[in-house]
């Protein structure tokens, strides 16, 4: 009987590992009519299935969580450090809770506010590796495009070729996977839909919007072409995350394998 429970526990662990980890950099609205203060949530989770929320900054050799390495925003070429705005929170997923952050930002000026979050590498015990997802998200104020397509030369980066905040349902998103400014040919990319209501007051995930007919639809695997470029059709309104696995130049952290990934979030809107 003990063996049975062990087998069930192992299969659950394997199932958990099968879905994609995604660093969320969430705000409710990416296309603002005018400048305002916005809420942000920085959560390491599985946005479609929400079967496990990770403790951001988890290390293999210490119980202490490592802090975020970098968090900043660029508007009209001006960079502003936001590291000091992060407040530690506990994020409640539907199955567990995890260490995460919340912050506020005054998106006052017109144009694009390009956010970059570089969390500390997270130790994934199930795989014995570290994962670091360098994440971009863009908020626009009043429709003037200024910084959305900037290539920042990050160690792992998805450079958008379509404005991530101006996508109709049923259209597409195109990006180029890059590492230190160089395209990553045939990069492996995972795509997930944020399949949950996000409750900013309770710092919690709500119920699911849709059910996947099969696991291939939870985390959708695609590949970039020889120039690191990819295009993906977006069938439903909401937030979609793209994660280029192991695209970054850092391959090791604390003597263990590191998957340094590039994440970008795009928001899709229905034509009404």
């Amino acid at each position: 009987m003990k063996r049975f429970y062990l087998a069930v526990a192992m299969s659950l662990l394997l199932c958990t590992g099968a879905f994609a980890h995604f660093q969320m950099l969430y705000t409710p609205e990416s296309a603002l009519e005018k400048g305002t203060t916005i809420e942000l949530r920085e959560v390491f989770t599985h946005p479609f299935a929400d079967e496990h929320t990770m403790d951001m900054g988890k290390q293999h050799d210490s119980d202490k969580l490592a802090g975020v390495e970098a968090f900043y925003v660029i508007n009209k070429d001006k960079k502003k450090d936001l590291l000091g705005t992060l407040k530690a929170i506990t994020w409640k997923g539907n199955h567990n809770s995890g260490a995460a952050y919340q912050s506020q930002y005054k998106a006052k000026r017109m144009g694009d506010h390009l956010f970059v979050l570089q969390p500390a590498p997270y130790y994934e015990a199930g795989e014995g590796i570290y994962i670091q997802q360098i994440t971009k998200m863009i908020v626009n104020v009043a429709g003037a495009p200024t910084d959305w397509d900037k290539e920042l030369g990050l160690k792992a980066e998805i450079v958008p070729l379509i404005k991530p905040y101006a996508i109709w349902t049923g259209s597409t998103f195109t990006g180029i996977v890059k590492s230190n400014g160089e395209a990553v040919p045939f990069a492996e990319i995972e795509v997930e839909y944020l399949n949950r209501d996000v409750d900013l007051d309770k710092n919690a995930m709500g119920p699911a919007y849709v059910e996947a007919p099969q696991d291939s639809f939870v985390t959708i695997g695609i590949k970039a072409d020889k120039d690191g470029k990819f295009t993906f059709g977006l069938p439903k309104a909401g937030w979609w995350g793209f994660c280029a696995l192991g695209a970054g130049s850092d391959k090791e952290y604390k003597g263990k394998e590191l998957s340094q990934d590039a994440v970008i979030w795009v928001q899709v809107k229905d034509m009404k």
Binding site: G35, M110, G111, A142, A144, T146
Partner: protein
């Protein structure tokens, strides 16, 4: 003469299509120090530097200037109701009501 006419027609068509392809945009905020800043631009990302900007109150123009090199204007907040207007030509006028301009 015919060549010049064709050239003028092509240039005219080009300028028309350029003018129609983008939208004038403006966003304003209260600096909290008794002044208002308005930023202008176009939907294709181009600057509104040099574009006419005016402040109107009860239908009268109380201030008229041009967007600066950074495509913005800073002015003293008027008492009462007012409108900030960016005038980038026919069909390219943007008006922001003072009541919608907050910190």
């Amino acid at each position: 003469m015919q060549k010049i006419s064709v050239l003028i027609a092509i240039l005219l068509m080009f300028s028309l299509s350029t003018a129609c392809a983008h939208t004038a945009l403006m966003s304003c905020f209260d600096e909290g120090d008794g002044t208002i800043t308005c930023e202008g631009g176009f939907s294709d990302g181009s600057s509104a530097s040099g574009v006419e900007f005016r402040v109107e109150q009860k239908g009268k123009v109380i201030m008229k200037t041009k967007m600066n090199e950074y495509s913005e204007v800073n002015f003293k907040k008027p008492e009462g109701d007012y409108q900030a207007v960016l005038n980038a030509g026919e069909g390219h006028t943007v008006c922001v009501d003072g009541q919608d301009i907050v910190e």
